[in-house]
């Protein structure tokens, strides 16, 4: 970071001096609002990552409660979705997936467990890499696809570009806007505003939140991922709350427009259709899951293979899973430290709940970065 070769432009949004100014502004805004806690929810694991990684939580004013919402696609991937991938892998089909999906526990096994038993599971960094891997062999290869609209667009683009005949997709892709409705309507929710994810909004456009804001009378601020982006987004949010203004503010204009990326949206909806489905620990989310349209049946692993889940489900799930409160944590009702398993029975190398698996998971982040301890200045 002290290296002179560092490019200044990248560091514009990492200027600690401006960070301190914004932190002071947050304090003044909280004072002006004059009550506590003021709860704001973000719905993106990358926001939590940045908050944790830069130690922002330790410098937030005490009155400001920034809650982690259901923003980790790996964490909300439901057990049966993991089970489908595990069953396919155990039946001898090659599976390619993102690194964070490997250790996500299914009902009885994770993909990592399947791999240890001899299944062929490879980690890829992008869908393109999975397609390349399929091209190199005759064997069937299933890309276990997870992620929100950001990565779903990449999957769609790969399919539109054409894939080899032995390639298919098992989609666990999710769509963010509907789950915000669910969380906003939860009776326990005390959320006064949503911080929306800048990269997802770059695709959907910030206009997608206008109806939401109207319906739920909760303001939304679209924010980027550099520490200054997050602090500035929170400052906009507190201004809206102070002035009792209910609207959408785009605090990430260098990437996000009202319309979003039309081409990406078109690709997304040509390949996928939204259907209702469970998000792990949250609820059934209408239109929250992205599945392949009928036109893409030939590359849809669910239609191409007979996936035998019954074989997996003859086992009972481990008992400690019943104590897991991932759902409440992702709904913003509980903190990781409220969970009896956190840091004792549930650890990164032996996760019980999905929030401990992904580097974007709330519990994993809190365990790694220490939540909000008092660390002096």
């Amino acid at each position: 970071m002290a290296d002179s070769r560092l490019n200044d432009r990248a560091l514009e949004f990492r200027d600690p001096k401006r960070g301190r100014e914004l932190t002071a502004l947050l304090g003044r805004l909280c004072d002006a609002i004059g009550r506590a806690p003021i709860s704001v929810m973000h719905v993106c694991g990358s926001h939590e990552q940045a908050i944790a990684r830069f130690g922002l939580r330790a410098s937030f004013p005490r009155a400001l409660n920034v809650i982690m919402g259901p923003g980790c696609p790996v964490c909300v991937t439901d057990l049966p979705e993991v089970d489908e991938a595990v069953a396919l892998a155990l039946s001898g089909v090659r599976i390619a997936t993102y690194g964070d999906m490997l250790r996500v526990p299914g009902t009885v096994k994770s993909l990592a467990d399947a791999r240890a038993e001899g299944a062929h599971v490879e980690v890829v960094y992008s869908v393109a890499q999975a397609v390349e891997s399929a091209r190199r062999s005759e064997q069937e290869l299933v890309f276990f696809a997870s992620g929100f609209e950001t990565t779903a667009v990449a999957t769609a683009a790969a399919l539109l570009a054409g894939t080899p005949p032995n390639f298919s997709v098992l989609s666990a892709h999710k769509y963010i806007p509907p789950v915000m409705e669910i969380v906003a309507e939860m009776p326990e929710t005390r959320v006064e505003g949503f911080l929306a994810a800048g990269h997802a909004a770059a695709i959907t456009g910030w206009g997608v939140f206008e109806r939401f804001v109207e319906r739920h009378a909760i303001p939304v601020v679209v924010a980027g991922f550099e520490p200054l982006d997050i602090l500035a987004g929170l400052a906009s949010m507190l201004e809206l709350i102070r002035d009792r203004r209910v609207e959408v503010v785009n605090a990430f204009p260098r990437c996000v427009t009202r319309e979003g990326n039309r081409k990406a949206q078109e690709a997304l909806w040509r390949v996928f259709r939204p259907i209702g489905g469970r998000w792990r620990g949250i609820a059934h989310v209408p239109n929250g899951n992205l599945r392949l349209r009928d036109e893409w049946a030939q590359v849809d692993a669910r239609r191409r293979f007979k996936i035998d889940l019954a074989g997996l489900w003859s086992y009972a799930p481990p008992r400690s899973a019943a104590q897991c409160i991932c759902g409440d944590i992702m709904a913003g009702i509980a903190a990781p430290t409220d969970c009896p398993l956190f840091g004792t029975k549930c650890l990164p190398d032996q996760p019980v709940g999905a929030c401990m698996v992904s580097s974007e998971g709330s519990c994993r982040i809190w365990l790694e970065y220490g939540g909000r301890p008092d660390l002096g200045t």
Binding site: M1, A2, G19, G55, L102, V123, Y125, S359, L375
Partner: protein, 324 residues
């Protein structure tokens, strides 16, 4: 991992004659008194995929790894190295020659020699390509443990972080972002000699941040010494290519492996002197003071990011590229 090693091996096998440093210290190597000097000994098995990577290969790694473990104990003049080779049937002869040449070059840089060795061939599929084990012995007038930190001491990092781990990861996962990523794998005994000559007794602890990176090494140093460490994030040296790749992959460079860097704990009054000595060596050009030891929060490492503070914990498992 450390807990597992302790439970299975250390508790059962420990035992060191006299005042030496043995298995239970779980340091970079062992030391036994020999006349008015210390005999320092260390061993390391090297497996890496891929065997050839930008900036080095398994041969260079096997020499540097062991020479550096000796150097971290304060033993910079290598008496002898051993090298055991376990090779998979069918491993290409040309590749083996390339590895052997790397061993030779690295030995020359470290002013060390392989004095004895062993070769075993295993059947195809019984091991993955090539495994090297090297053992090193050296004499030292004074042993520097990794547990010698006190409140008030400063931590010097001898150069940029993350170079090795990211170069290997990029090659292993075939990520098209290698660009300027190059492993830093290098024998550090010459560099460490200069630091020890400049700092003498004021150099109180050393550790090379290999697997688990700077985060893991600092946590271990803090725990063993019972001090707190505050790491100043903005002063940690990092190459632009590493910063960009880590950012893209969502991996914290502080947990990425290095194979040519050292963390050196020094008494505050000697810090500038040691820093200058390091900077005058080609492998220490980017050296910087990056941390301070405190009496508060013993055993914990706090990272000051410039925006706020967070705890730095020991990473679990291998860092994997994440989704978005």
């Amino acid at each position: 991992m450390r807990a597992l090693i302790k439970e299975i091996f250390v508790d059962r096998l420990d035992g060191v004659p006299g005042p030496g440093i043995g298995l239970s210290a779980m340091d970079d190597g062992a030391a036994i008194p020999l006349g008015d000097q210390w005999l320092v000994i260390t061993t390391d098995s090297h497996v890496i995929s891929p065997i050839f990577f930008p900036g080095g290969d398994i041969g260079r790694l096997a020499v540097a790894g062991t020479v550096n473990d000796l150097a971290m104990m304060g033993a910079t003049e290598v008496l002898a190295l051993t090298c055991a080779v376990v090779v998979e049937e069918g491993f290409a002869r040309a590749d083996l020659e390339r590895v052997s040449e790397s061993i030779e070059i690295a030995c020359r840089e470290a002013n060390a020699r392989i004095l004895t060795g062993d070769t075993k061939v295993m059947g195809r599929g019984e091991i993955d390509g090539l495994v090297l084990n090297t053992t090193g012995v050296a004499l030292a007038r004074r042993v520097v443990p990794d547990s010698g930190l006190h409140p008030g001491d400063l931590i010097i990092l001898t150069g940029t972080i993350g170079d090795h781990g990211l170069a290997v990861m990029a090659r292993r996962h075939e990520l098209a972002l290698e660009g300027d990523l190059r492993s830093d794998v290098a024998p550090l005994n010459g560099l460490i000699r200069q630091a020890l000559d400049a700092g003498a007794d004021a150099v109180v602890a050393m550790k090379d941040p290999t697997r688990g990176g700077v985060a893991s090494a600092l946590c271990e140093m803090a725990q063993k010494a019972g001090v707190g460490i505050v790491l100043d994030g903005p002063s940690v040296p990092m190459n632009e290519a590493v910063r960009a790749a880590a950012e893209l992959l969502g991996i914290d460079p502080l947990i990425v492996a290095n194979e040519g860097k050292a963390l050196i704990g020094v008494r505050a009054e000697a810090a500038q002197r040691v820093l200058l000595a390091l900077k005058s060596h080609p492998l220490g050009r980017n050296a910087a003071i990056v941390g301070t030891c405190t009496a508060e929060r013993p055993g914990r490492v706090v990272l000051d990011t410039g925006f706020g503070r967070r705890l730095l914990s020991e990473p679990e498992g291998e860092p994997l590229p994440r989704i978005c």
